[in-house]
Amino acid sequence: MFWKSKPLWGDKTRLKSSYDAVIIGGGLHGLATAYYLAKEHGITDVAIIEKRFIGFGGAGRNTAIVRANQRTQYNVPLYKEALDLWPVLTKELDYNLMFNNCGNLNLMHSEAAMKAARMTIATAQFHGVESHLIDAKEAKEMVPALNISEDITFPIHGAMYHPPGGIVRHDAVVWGLAKGCAKHGVQIHQQTEATAIHTEGGKITGVETSRGRIHTPRVLVSAGGYSAGIIHHMLGIKLPISVLTIQAMVTQPLKPILNHVVSSGAYHCYANQTLKGEIATGAHMDQWPNYTTQNTAHYIKHQAEALSDWLPCLRGVKFMRIWGGLADMTPDMAPIMDGNDPIEGFYMDCGWGYFGFKSCSAVGKYMSEYMATGNCPDMLKPFNLRRYENHQLMGETAALVSYTPDN
């Protein structure tokens, strides 16, 4: 070796036979929860078990959009806290997370959509989150590349403008959190797959891995799109989740033309320009569950059509890279965070669909509190699994493009 450097997340350690807590999945949520467990709650004897490498899942594939303009009063405060944490974490981890606070513009293509936006904006403002309604002309002033003519498939009526949102570098979040974990004594075990979860008398006792058995009283499943399958396979618990492949892509680099994250529900399309100049654009979900993470010609065509309609200056621009990942969708487009029910010591954090990046910082903070104390923090109470049998589904579907096969 000509060059020897220590990975940010410490030297490789031996897998021990017991830990105070085991986290399955080295993604955003697993890393963030481990970090706060160690830093805030003094639980440092923690192992993160990662099948491939940290960031292999959605963590390294997402389009990095962050915002806090969700629909319901349960979701907005959680995402607001997550958004407020980026600058704090950047300092705390001593790692540049490249928060580009460029603001988000959600295009509205009908008067009905404008009315729905008014309600979402009222919710945001009530929670102290900046969000305004603007008309098509104002949107055009902000984003001159926008096509506001009336003869496109979905003419633009106006937009919801949310200045505090933007883009955070997703790999930096993975590496920064891993660095923070290692600093506080958490062990990260890559190339280690969880294969079974052991229980005895209704309590968690351990985790079986491809590298041996671990004894532990607490397990968090935060395996992104793989969580629901794992939880059913290992514990027989079924979840209201559908796992879909979701695709995104980037164009060749261009001179600066987009200064915001612009999205359109009607076109099923969003776009922003990365710091490298590429237009990052997504996202398309397959209409049937699958774990392929493969791309489709269908999506490339869809994206080219949509972009040439509402951002016509991109006509003729080449797509450079395309990739896929998994989105675990719930019927109410809100996640499931729960613990100690029906198994003591078992925690889950899943159903994050295509919004689990923007939330990971705050979720790590609260899930770690849950795991350290055994009591569910107020912030997470509405996200319990039983809400589905109690007919207390959250109303997030009203604010997002709902792609689940349930619709």
Partner: protein, 86 residues
Amino acid sequence: MALTLTCPVCGKRNGYEFRYGGEDKGPRPAEAGLTPRAWCDYVHMNKCTAGVQKEWWFHRDGCGSWFTTWRDTTNNLEVEQPEASK
């Protein structure tokens, strides 16, 4: 990834002609004595199998049939009914 499905009436067709109808969960539970939990289980809960599963499809842009098929969710290929499930 592309998907081809075999409609019992129309034969092999492009997957985009169909609407996914969910994992096969057996017959709809009887109304008598139905609990919220059992209903929720039937309506919402999934196994999310990474592998072969039995599922419902509707030939939306075709003959309108509802049918079940076996598909491997890791590669989108239709498969014969597994021996174990017969």
